[in-house]
């Protein structure tokens, strides 16, 4: 479902050059459940943004379901993203002046097959699954850090996407809430979804089936999990 070949991403700021990705070749097959790990600054968010069609590589190829992503227009990529991908951002990126329920409904606005009533029902169900049904009317700045993170998770799953990309989805959650979120992801994986999530916590990586370790812009270890 995901195939990258020699992806590089380089940032140049004056005379500082940062090689965020140094030639990353990664294959993720349908229905896999992958944890992406590695030190701070090792390229995890960078590759997630490229996989989610939110950013473009400096060089190399990215094929999503066989489609060569760089051959697509910005509009085609936006459609691809909306139809196929649910994304949880490391900084959540909720719309600040919009209540939780509307933030969660957002991905469904592009879907001509869902009417307003069903949109509302699905958004409420997604909020219920992350334990925030009673806060549906709250603004992001009225929610705790972990509550905002859970709204972002609800938003990523509500459109029933085939691919979920989650960047540190439990970074601000206590152990029990993290485990509840990982159970949601495990259920979705059992239903056939492909999931790649970034985590720096080995306990969370244990819930997945494969761990890919980054170091300084490259993949240095790629191993199956013994007992997910």
């Amino acid at each position: 479902v995901i195939e990258t070949r020699d992806l590089t991403k380089t940032y140049t700021m004056g005379d500082i050059v940062v090689k965020a990705l140094r030639g990353t070749s990664l294959k993720i097959y349908e229905n896999e459940f992958v944890a992406i790990m590695g030190p701070s600054g090792s390229g995890k968010s960078t590759i997630m943004n490229i996989l989610g069609c939110l950013d473009v590589a400096t060089s190399g190829d990215y094929f999503l379901d066989g489609i060569d992503v760089k051959k697509n227009t910005a509009n085609q990529l936006a459609d691809l993203r909306n139809q196929k991908i649910g994304f949880v951002f490391q900084a959540y990126n909720l719309l600040p002046r919009t209540p939780a329920i509307e933030n969660v409904e957002l991905p469904m606005l592009y879907n001509p097959n869902i009417n307003a009533k069903e949109r509302r029902e699905r958004a409420l169900e997604a909020l219920r699954s992350v334990g925030l049904l009673e806060r549906a009317a709250s603004m992001p700045n009225q929610l705790s850090g972990g509550q905002q993170q859970r709204v972002a998770i609800a938003r990523a799953i509500v459109n029933d996407p085939v691919l979920i990309l989650a960047d540190e989805p439990t970074g601000n959650l206590d152990t029990r809430t993290s485990f509840e979120v990982m159970e949601i992801f495990q259920k979705m994986n059992a239903l056939g979804k492909t999931i790649a999530l970034v985590t720096h916590e080995p306990d969370i990586a244990e819930f997945t089936k494969r761990n890919v370790h980054f170091r300084d812009g490259s993949i240095f270890k790629d191993e199956m999990v013994a007992n997910p």
Copy 2:
């Protein structure tokens, strides 16, 4: 150094009432090293913001070094904060259009005893201690999540405050970088500083000397750490 009596914090949004704190009495003595833990939404950031004089309680008392905080004007509280407290925010709150080095220098601008040259040296040293010296000129949006978090940590320690309040300072850091940050806090505690930090990770709480557990707006357990 910190004494709260029956602090409450209540938010009312239409007909939803959220009791973020339900009568919290907490004492933190000089040179203590406390971890504040608890589920998402249990009141940890709320009490940290009140302790940091960034927010006021709905009722109850807060004495900082014997000073009754609610008897102070906003300006007096701002001075108190700048002189005594270093604060790491859960969402970092860096100035977006300001390079890392200037973000770190910010708390020292209020200090008449430090000139521009010393300010720059201390900011560079703080960035070096969190492994980000070479990124001093970068803007926050050019830094990874964990790098932004480390800039926020550097900013909190640079003014050599007597009290450090850190809200999830390792939430976006890998294990090794988290341990480096906890070693910085341990060194500062050994030099006499008082430190209270929020964490949801038991491994991180192990570095401290006392764990205070919140649940639903109240302290439900308060225990010393066996072997910090």
